[in-house]
Amino acid sequence: MLAIIDYKAGNLTSVKRALDYLEIPNKITASAQDILQSRGIIFPGVGAAGSAMQHLQKTHLGKVLKEAVAKDIPLLGICLGCQIILDFSEENKTHTLGLIPGKCLRFQEDLTEEDGSPINIPHMGWNQVTLKKDCLLFEGIEPEAEFYFVHSYYPAPEKEFILGTSFYGLEFCSVLGRENLWAVQFHPEKSGRPGLTLLKNFYNYVRSK
């Protein structure tokens, strides 16, 4: 069973719908027991870093997540969940979970797209990911595949944790991680077949472990 962490941060049901469609057993939960006994964890979220962290601290879910990661339960962070596994976010100047060293930064207004037009913030729409290292989550996904992004802040982990990057005004990290701990800035649950393949790859890894 995959545990989808319920921390009142946005639309968790879209992740659940994708997992249900893939017939992957899952449960939206905020229970420490569920999370620590799960085979794998999905840490989604949309919204602001500040209020998300407040909720994680108040409910001790932050501590539970750290414990789960220390136990090597595989975890996949998505969007806000990708950002707050780092140490610090510029959004609301928030100290975040610190599961991977790095910061989360805001896109600067004066950046331009490759065709010279000023970027809109948030970065919203379909964009490609260039892998910098092998990543089992991308098995069977074409290099030209695109993923659906919606975000104003981007993760900037320490270099050794960068698995893939995308370009929007600048090259930024869109996939990060290490063994048993991955995070993607885009929404695999809204990225069509390539996104569903990524979720399936995560589950296949969880099952094989």
Binding site: Y21, E113, S117, W126, N127, Y148, Y168, S191, P194
Partner: protein, 259 residues
Amino acid sequence: MLSKRIIPCLDVRDGKLTKGIKFKDNVDIGDPVETAKIYYEQGADEIVFYDITASHEGRSIMLKVVEKVAAQIFIPFSVGGGISSIEDMRAVLLAGAEKISINSAAVKNPSLISEGAEAFGSQCIVVGMDVLNVPVSSQIPSGYEVVIHGGRKPMGIDALWWAQEVEKLGAGEICLNSIDADGTKEGYELTLTRLIAENVRIPVIASGGAGHPEHMVEAVSKGKASAALIASIIHYGEWSIPEIKKYMHNQGVKVRLVW
């Protein structure tokens, strides 16, 4: 770099498509869920449902449609038509839509935009604008006027002013429909599209007038739009989404080619 989006629009009344969709093999489909699924599989980047149901019962039928779509389609989709309160927005988003689109209700009650953005995030709030070409005046300095109720009611509001206003209020996107171009199949209103797209920092979806993939190319190049809304050009089998994308790609437009 972001790909330019191709967005099919489906008109729904009482849970059915207002007109049957004819695919190339001449199969007529009246079910919005099935049609959306086909467009999803053909590479649509997003889907817009426009609910023209008037009755209260019809509204709950639409929510059922949204739930069914959300269980089978894993790209963003938005729902517009008849949404006039935060509760309406919440119901549609909880049923699984990624975005909601408001048009007349936003003109009548602009605070709906800011309240929606506050409650659900700007990325959820699309403001639809129906715009008519009018003589330049002190009231309408751009020569483009906002109209509501499907173009029947001029509002005395300048379209450029309104676009910048909805951005300030927290809209995440503008869907810009030219009443003059709508239904002509002669192309999008490029002057209008460019005027709005160059003067806001949120994405503009061009709408109205698509009859050939070249029109989509123009909308995103000359018109500077981020996306193009399409309807009859694909509904009646003249062009398919893969053909349109291939055409745009060959003209040098970045579009999503793997799905």
